[in-house]
Amino acid sequence: MLRSENPTRPTTIDELLSSQLIAKISQLDVSSKKIFAGKLKGERRSKKRGESVEFADHRPYATGDDLRHIDWNIYARLDRFFMKLFMEEEDLSLHIVIDASASSDCGEPNKFYYMQQVAMAMGYIGLINLNRVAVTAVGLRDELVIPGGDKSIAGNIRDLRGRRRTHDLARFLCSIEPEGSTDFAQACKRIAMTRRGKGVMIVLSDFLMKEGYETGLRMLVGRGYDVFAIQTLSPQEVEPDIAGDLQLRDVEDGDMAEVTISAPLLKKYKENLAAYCQGLRDFCARREITALTIQTDTPIDTLLLDYLRKRGVLR
């Protein structure tokens, strides 16, 4: 809840992804409710019949088909051309959106560090499974971070593929500084416009946005992306540990709220928080977004191996 006084800022990949975690998640793969088409031949089965060695079906020959796929044995028996269809293996886009606003830099354990770790782990899973991994940091900045980009995007790395890009991913994640506010809707619009291919999109944020998350999420669904919204909250946001007469200042917009902490106020706060999270889940459910609220004191491996697998993000 409160801004972290000495937040952990990872500088190396080891701080983002421990070797123990690597051992645990190496067997995982990014999953989707649908099998998505990709640009490059990946390890993934596609709905498209393709060029793998795995036979899928036959279909009658049509003019222009590759002669190499004609099943000559059938032609010999039936004297007609049939095309052998094979399972196509494709790569998958894994697009991770991470909230790099100042509100992420709060809580103990720090929310942004937690999101960085999740993004790294997810990205690593994507990379080792030859998926196309992209990470976009969302945060309103005064100047353009990416040439030709948008002020609402605080950073972007894309088209990473293969295990050897792991360090690129780590370097990028370490380079993001959480600050400023967000223009979530604008950022999502930008992401939706620039993303390529189809795949899985994971949005890591606390979703505590005054302007609302609805517009942004609405833009992200569709276009072939399976969207997962992981709401990351610090334990102090769930169970506030503040007392007394306080002047609460919003780290993003400087908004003030004067409160005298009392039992009814805390009760009301918790009710509001629960309703807010429920609202997020309801909104997501209606739009086929899988939503998940996680506290930053939850171990990363529990999140990955348990929660995300249950929800079909990983398998």
Binding site: L2, D206, Q247, R249, D250, Y269, Y276
Partner: protein, 707 residues
């Protein structure tokens, strides 16, 4: 309830309460905190408060607690007090009865829990606490002052006038119970002595004072308010005079104890030795009962630590006055008889079951009494002889305190100087004293006259010499002849005597020719006369002669005082132990009943030592080194003389509390309301309440259990 300083409190309240409320209206200085988002907080605040300040106040427990604390402190500042009819600056005299009857265990309705004395102290402390103390904020008011006097048979000022309540309470607590009877006269005198004497001014015509003198009898100054804490069993209560001040008597009687309490107590204990046989000791025990029913109790006689006899005593019911409820005690008694020639310490104990059941006997200290019985008296004997071997040697063998052989000439000299009075018995052996100027041969005293015929008025008429012979009859029951036989006595000759008519002479033994042993007695003189000459008989060679001499000495000398002189060894608590010991005594101390020893006493030049006053009943042993008197016990070169302090007071043993007491000038009824109006300062309680709430507030604050 009154307020000592209401204005001060009002001013403080006028300032502090609005200030506190305003402070709450004003926003507090809030601690800034940066949070990830105020989104949810704003919603929560909006939901919670409709921005109404009074709603905010209404729900603020902390403010309420602070208001309560403030209120309590303000109430405390106003110094609330309970209403009181007592005007300021009074002088109290608290007279606390510590006599024996106050040891009754009916101080509270629940018997056996508290003695009257403890209850009296408690009530006295309550009175002290109700005294007006000087106000904290104004110096104008005078505080009440009190003086504490404890009295039993004597009175003692425990504390002089002071308004220091803690000192008064401490000194009340320091008073100890005694076993003495009660007498208030001295206490009253002590109290009145504190008052200034009334000064009478003589004035001339111009009104100027020409002469002024003090009157000893009349007292001036402010009247004293007497508070008597007693059960009313005070023998000389009529020595107290009460005054009237503002239609209020200056004498208040706080009756302690219950009118209907039952007590059985020893009221008298005496011993007497039998006239005829001094070794036969009778111990008379008188018991008094205030029980409304008949009782039978056991009296136990303990001699030198071991029970000698147990006798039961039937006590009739005490009579109860229907109107006043006062009880007239019933009495009973028992006599223990024993054969005890020696000096003993006899203790009588009543078994009244009072230990187990306080209803049966509320006062236990009067259930026991001790008696120091001196041995049968040893005689001082003088032998006036011309040199009779038989008599002198026989007497010398007897246990006598003094035995002197005196020549007739010396005896006559002593008669003139009166020195013969020291002898209990004078043996005239073959010698008759000369007639004095009044014509009397025998001075007042006891005599054994051998070998001479005493002429009347005490004696007999000499009729010449008889032929002697044996004794044909003698009074076998007479103390002198009881233990012997005269059968063997043979007389060569004997004077024939004739007993004059109307004389006090009786014959004790007779031969055929008339009386040979006679006794004469009147108010002054008692004598055994043996007219015949011993040398002309075989008696000196017979054992009966020695027995006769011994019996005669016993009879005449020791039996001369039949009642044992117990008084000098009995002390009534409240009096001093005073006795004379040999002048060479050193290391004189008194061993007290509780086993401790007194300081060393320094005897006066004539050997008198004084210790006391004795407050507790029991045995007191005077101990010294040096020579001893005949009755003293000597152990390892140290002499002991035992004294018994006993209550033995019918007034004290009648424990029925007096509801009214008759003073010299009026009858005072007991203050029935034991709770007297008291000035009670309440402000400490308010402050204490404030402190408690402050603690609670602190707890609430830390628990975050705010409303």
């Amino acid at each position: 309830m009154t307020w000592a300083t209401p204005m001060l409190a009002a001013i403080v309240a006028a300032i502090a309460i609005p200030a506190l409320v305003i402070l709450y209206f004003l926003k507090l200085r809030r601690i800034p905190r940066e949070v990830s988002s105020t989104l949810l907080w704003k919603k929560a605040i909006q939901d919670l408060q409709a921005n109404a300040p009074f709603q905010r106040l209404r729900k603020n427990l902390l403010l309420f607690l602070q208001l309560i604390v403030l209120g309590l402190i303000i109430f405390g500042l106003a110094q609330p007090r309970s209403a009181s009819s007592v005007s300021s600056g009074q002088k109290f005299i608290l007279m606390i009865d510590r006599s024996a009857s106050m040891a009754s265990v009916d101080g509270q309705t629940d018997l056996g829990k508290q003695t009257r004395f403890e209850e009296a102290k408690k009530q006295a402390i309550e009175l002290v606490q109700s005294m007006r103390e000087p106000s904290m904020f104004s110096q104008g008011e005078k505080a009440d002052e009190a003086m504490i006097i404890a009295f039993d048979a004597n009175a003692e000022i425990i504390t002089s006038f002071t308004s220091d309540q803690s000192e008064l309470i401490n000194s009340i607590n320091s008073i100890t119970q005694s076993d003495a009877p009660s007498s208030i006269a001295e206490a009253y005198r002590l109290a009145q002595a504190q008052r200034p004497k009334r000064i009478v001014n003589a004035t001339n015509e111009a009104g100027e004072i020409t002469e002024s003198h003090e009157l000893d009898e009349l007292k001036g100054g402010e009247p004293y308010f007497f508070h008597l804490f007693s059960d009313g069993r005070v023998s000389d209560i009529d020595s107290v005079r009460a005054e009237e001040v503002d239609a209020q008597t200056t004498f208040e009687y706080h009756a302690i104890g219950s009118q209907s309490s039952n007590n059985i107590g020893l009221v008298a204990l005496r011993s007497e030795r039998d006239y005829d046989t001094p070794s036969k000791l009778s111990i008379f025990v008188a018991v008094q009962s205030t029980d409304s029913i008949e009782r039978t109790i056991d009296a136990e006689l303990i001699i030198d630590g071991s029970t000698r006899s147990v006798r039961s005593i039937d006590l009739p019911a005490a009579t109860i006055d229907e109107t006043t409820g006062q009880r007239t005690p019933a009495s009973g008694g028992v006599i223990f008889e024993l054969d005890e020639p020696n000096g003993i310490i006899a203790r009588v104990r009543l078994d009244t079951n009072g230990n187990e059941n306080p209803e049966a006997d509320v006062l236990l200290s009067d259930n026991e009494a001790t008696l120091v019985v001196p041995p049968a008296k040893q005689a001082a004997v003088a032998l006036i002889s011309t040199g009779n071997l038989f008599v002198g040697s026989a007497i010398q063998g007897m246990p006598l305190s003094r035995f002197d052989t005196i020549t007739p000439a010396q005896y006559e000299e002593n008669r003139v100087s009166g020195e013969n009075d020291v002898y209990d018995l004078i043996i005239l052996d073959g010698y008759l004293p000369k007639k004095d100027e009044f014509g009397s041969i025998l001075d007042p005293g006891r005599y054994l006259i051998l070998g001479e015929v005493v002429p009347p008025p005490y004696g007999v008429v000499d009729k010449g010499v008889g032929s002697g012979g044996s004794i044909i009859d003698w009074r076998r029951t007479h103390p002198v002849l009881r233990d012997l036989t005269l059968d063997a006595l043979l007389l060569a000759e004997n004077p024939i005597v004739e007993i004059p008519e109307d004389s006090g002479v009786i014959s004790l033994a007779e031969t055929a020719s008339g009386p040979v042993i006679l006794e004469t007695s009147d108010a002054d003189v008692r004598a055994i006369m043996v007219p015949f000459e011993l040398t002309k008989t075989n008696w000196p060679f017979d054992v009966s002669f020695v027995v006769f001499l011994a019996s005669t000495v016993d009879y005449l000398a020791t039996g001369s005082t039949v009642a044992v002189d117990q008084n000098e060894r009995q002390i009534v608590p409240g009096n001093v132990l005073s006795d004379r010991i040999p002048a060479d005594a050193s290391g004189v101390r008194v061993l007290l009943p509780d086993g401790s020893r007194s300081e060393e006493l320094i005897p006066t030049a004539d050997g008198r030592v004084v210790y006391g006053p004795i407050t507790n009943a029991g045995l007191y042993r005077l101990r010294w080194r040096g020579t001893s008197a005949p009755t003293d016990v000597v152990e390892d070169g140290t002499n002991y003389r035992t004294f018994a302090a006993n209550l033995l007071d019918p007034t004290e043993s009648n424990v029925s509390t007096q509801s009214t007491i008759a003073l010299a000038n009026q009858i005072v009824t007991a203050d029935s309301s034991t709770q007297r109006k008291r000035i009670k300062d309440w402000w400490p309680y308010f402050l204490m309440g404030a402190l408690l709430i402050l603690l609670f507030e602190w707890w609430v604050y830390n628990k975050k259990m705010y409303l």
